[in-house]
């Protein structure tokens, strides 16, 4: 479902024309296929700290071609820049300039990954400056990368080593085609949790997952992706969408639960269904959501309330039931759909952005509650994704939305689903209360 423009500029005449006219040249993104190597080409691990050494030796066990020194003009798959102990801004120069020398050797669909620590975790001004400097550096570098390459960062909370399970899981996610449309973003590893035994190809085997709003679009793709990753699925959507829901359920061998998530007791009904049919409930993906766009001056009560009720209030009620349930206790995972609209704002979407901002607030505040049960809650904030919904946007506006990111194209539903599957996995157990943007580094917003 690549858009026509991307197809055009990736073949003979179109490619030359776009080059000559200086038009955007979006690349075909490298996406995950089960059975394919994590990444092709050597992985250069840059940095001289003990953290860099331990990470490099860990990556060797993944059967990667790990290099500690670049060979000029050898095509690289990825560059990992370990900056976990920078103390002053001057410390950046050495490793950064080594990367600069290797950047032209980075292949199509390549990866640059920084591993560093959050500025907020230090009281030392110089260290905070150095750490925050990584943020600005990485985000700018991501905008310079070409041919579907991306740049992302892993932030390690105090006491979290670069080889902690979730730090490794984040590095694996960023190296993989699963993160194709994640660009210029940081994932904070908040704890040392996470299952190091996770099987990378079927990380959700033996887990029962609920996906709301699963009848179509991103929800249906989440269902397919979690199924691919081994989960047993309960798919929820409103009764009126039941026929499409049944089709998705039959495709992924799950069970369909026709349920309006705003009805009282919806959380308990979901728990009961999952436990009776599948024996457990481990993962809940709050995907169901609606838009009722109006400028605030034209907003009525129904449009405001329906968006708030479905997009955030229902999630809060369901989470309350989940956290109270004895059946949601085995490394539970909640992943909620936020939106870049909730971060950067969007004209005509005051109600939607309020609800999605609400999701991010909820995720942050729920994180310590679910951590008490060894669980995590996180949000994924999609940018412009090619769906039935965005296909209805007027053509000029749609083109603008598509191209206004570092990858110069819209993301696919699978890109959102991959980020969700990652956060739902056992290995991501040390990532809690975070918001991960899947937006191709949208030029709007943070």
């Amino acid at each position: 479902m690549t858009d026509k423009y991307t197809q055009l500029v990736n073949q003979g005449l179109g490619r030359n024309l776009a080059k000559k006219l200086g038009l955007p040249q979006p690349a075909f993104l490298r996406r995950y296929q089960p059975g394919q190597p994590l990444i092709t080409g050597p992985v250069l691990v840059q940095g001289s700290t003990p953290g860099a050494d331990s990470l490099a030796s860990e990556l060797l066990t993944w059967d990667l071609d790990v290099r500690r020194h670049a060979v000029p003009r050898e095509r690289l798959g990825a560059i990992i820049l370990v900056l976990d102990d920078v103390v002053t801004p001057e410390d950046l120069a050495g490793p950064v300039l080594v990367v600069a020398a290797s950047l032209r050797d980075l292949g199509p669909g390549g990866r640059v990954i920084t591993v560093s620590r959050p500025a907020s975790d230090t009281a030392d001004p110089a260290a905070a400056a150095a750490r925050q400097g990584v943020d600005g550096f990485l985000r700018s570098l991501a905008k310079e990368l070409r041919r579907g390459a991306t740049g992302n960062g892993v932030l390690l909370a105090p006491d979290v080593a670069p080889t902690s399970p979730s730090a490794l899981a984040a590095v694996r996610f960023f190296l993989s085609g699963r993160s194709a449309f994640v660009d210029g973003q940081f994932i904070t590893v908040t704890g040392t949790g996470g299952d190091p035994q996770d099987t990378p190809d079927r990380p959700l085997a033996g887990r029962t997952a609920v996906v709301t709003g699963a009848a179509r679009g991103i929800g249906a793709e989440i269902a397919r992706t979690l199924h691919r990753d081994g989960a047993t699925l309960v798919l929820v959507d409103v009764p009126a969408a039941g026929d499409r829901l049944a089709a998705v359920a039959n495709e992924v061998r799950g069970t369909a639960l026709q349920l309006d998530i705003t009805t009282p007791g919806a959380g308990q009904l979901i728990i009961d269904h999952a436990v009776q049919r599948h024996g457990s409930l481990d993962v809940v993906i709050h995907n169901a959501g609606i838009t009722r766009d109006k400028l605030l001056a034209n907003m009525d009560e129904a449009k405001w309330n329906s968006v708030i009720n479905i997009n955030i209030a229902a999630q809060l009620r369901i989470n309350e039931a989940l956290l109270a349930s004895e059946h949601f206790r085995t490394a539970p995972r909640i992943v909620s759909l936020a939106s870049t609209s909730g971060i950067a704002g969007n004209r005509g979407q005051t109600n939607y952005a309020a609800s999605k901002g609400g999701v991010m607030g909820m995720v942050r505040a729920t994180a310590p509650l679910i951590a008490a049960y060894g669980g995590t809650i996180n949000a994924v904030a999609p940018g412009f994704i090619e769906t039935d919904m965005t296909a209805r946007i007027p053509v000029a506006l749609r083109e603008l939305g598509r191209r206004a990111n570092s990858l110069q194209q819209g993301g696919q539903p699978i890109d959102v689903a991959e980020a969700i599957a990652f956060l739902a996995s056992g290995a991501a157990g040390g990532i809690n209360g975070q918001v991960l943007r899947v937006c191709g580094q949208n030029l709007v917003g943070a």
């Binding site: 009764p239 009126a240 969408a241 039941g242 026929d243 829901l245 049944a246 089709a247 359920a249 039959n250 061998r253 799950g254 069970t255 369909a256 639960l257 026709q258 349920l259 309006d260 009805t263 009776q276 049919r277 599948h278 024996g279």
Partner: protein, 451 residues
Amino acid sequence: MSSVGQPTAGPAKTGSAGAAAVRRAVIVGGNRIPFARSGGAYAKSSNQDMLTAALDGLIARFGLQDERLGEVAAGAVLKHSRDFNLTREAVLGSALSAETPAYDLQQACATGLETVVGLANKIKLGQIESAIAAGVDSASDAPVVVSEGLRAVILDLNRARTIPQRLQILSRLRPKDLAPLAPGTAEPRTGLSMGEHQALTTAQWKISRAAQDELAFNSHRNLAAAYDAGFFDDLVTPYRGLARDGNLRADTSLEKLGTLKPVFGKGLGADATMTAGNSTPLTDGAATVLLASDEWADAHDLPKLAAVVDAEAAAVDFVHGKDGLLMAPVFAVPRLLARQGLTLDDIDFFEIHEAFAATVLSTLAAWEDEEFCRTRLGLPGALGSIDRSRLNVHGSSLAAGHPFAATGGRIVASLAKMLHQKGSTEGRPARGLVSVCAAGGQGVVAILESL
């Protein structure tokens, strides 16, 4: 009389006294597509399309993808000759394992209920562990048949060997032979439509227009309320843009129903009472019921809503006018109750198919008539009257519509859910009685019990 090698584990015995060691058949749940008025949302859907859709919804609800079930039985009343293997073809088109066997069954409007009875019996005997009972009908996509004259000519042409023979055969064709025959619901032996037959019965039992309209009104009101309460959320899967039954008129009123002109019993003049409002319309739709042994349901972590206790079929001699065409259940129910040692008072929910409002009312009137019950049913007195608050409490065919063979599955799945919700009452399981009348003067009735 258990079959050879069949384990006798589980709560094997049904409540029926003196029965051999048969085990229980349980209803796990059901799924149907909303029923559409003929020529409406499903005008372009075939029986196979609709049956497959209803099956796929059931499969999705209960996670039966790639499952090899014991057997699937279904049928249609209006059936194309090409659909000789309708149910098997629908199974092949569904998400079930292609190794699931299937058979077609046809008993007019009782088709759907009879598939439940037959498959439940197979489960009780230990022949199968799981089954889907179903029914489908399309009045929109009904088969159109060529005239007998044209048919004879075509068949003779096939057998002819020479050109002169063929010409001679063709010369037999008359213009009237070329007109297709539309499907009719007239009884072959009387030439009367079902509605005209019921009109005779309605007059015989002196069923008033007001009583019929009230029954129709309640049907619409009850069905609409059940939809609003979410009762059908796990019984119905939308199809072709329809999420509720197309015939449902949530806003109808006794006044509106009262304004409709009679359409049956035209010979009765001013005494005609049966209108389009208190008769079921031609309808398209499909319904399915998932049946299982206790062991199979438990092994698959599936719910158990109700048990299929017992069933009885009856037929009446309507040809000679001895009884009304649709009155067979009047005879079947007392026989079934007697075999189970029950009375009408032991039944918590009555599901009497509303072919016409007057059918239900004639049935009730017959059971309340001491003379009739003594002379025709061989009872000591009237069978009794039933508490109307227990009758068709979530609506029935007048509101939902009546795709002939799909009605049994609709009723059984809904009743099983109602019984499960009620649970036990007065220290016994809740009981429900299903009654479906059928063309040819037949009727099938069954008793379900809550689990």
